[in-house]
Symmetry: C2
């Protein structure tokens, strides 16, 4: 069993300062060793029919499924999640073991 | 400007053989050099309130935004996308430059 990802697609409520949310998330995961890496992004193609209003992606990577479970059950995650969810108009969350079907070429 | 990801969250129609779709996508990207890597996964936590019925994630990584544009405009992508979309009950697609907020630790 390899890496597991915790992926959130979100649409923020109007008036939310996305930079503040990002800072909160970055600070949170910086202090939590069970989070192997964290990347995010903002949609750039704006194909409304396909994005369905979702604008941002947040992706946490864990080396093991147990690390994800530890993270999800952690008080600091619970506290942040409450604030995070309150800032969202829409959200979809998927947790999945990563299957690499085409690996990147050697660097 | 770094990597760009093309991310699809999907819910398949009933009766769709997911393995066939996966094989089609794997074959497609294996033959297209502008696709740097391809990974996918199936949701394992089944938190219906959070997944909203989405079950699978497909993530293509491109080294440059131009590679994504070339891929999106390619005949082979168009042909596959038509078949792929027909197999879906729901889909959200997001295209985003990757911001690495917490890099993975050195191997």
């Amino acid at each position: 069993m390899g890496e597991v990802k915790h992926l959130c697609l979100v649409k923020f409520k109007e008036g939310v300062v996305v930079e503040d949310v990002l800072k909160g998330m970055t600070d949170l995961v910086a202090g939590m060793d069970m989070v192997k890496s964290f990347e995010w992004g903002q949609d750039v193609l704006n194909q409304e029919m396909l994005t369905q209003g979702f604008t941002h992606v947040f992706s946490l990577t864990f080396a093991f499924a147990d690390d994800l479970a530890t993270y999800m059950g952690h008080d600091r995650h619970a506290a942040f999640a409450a604030t995070f969810m309150a800032a969202l108009d829409k959200v979809v969350v998927i947790d999945f073991p990563v299957v690499v079907a085409k690996p990147p070429p050697p660097a």
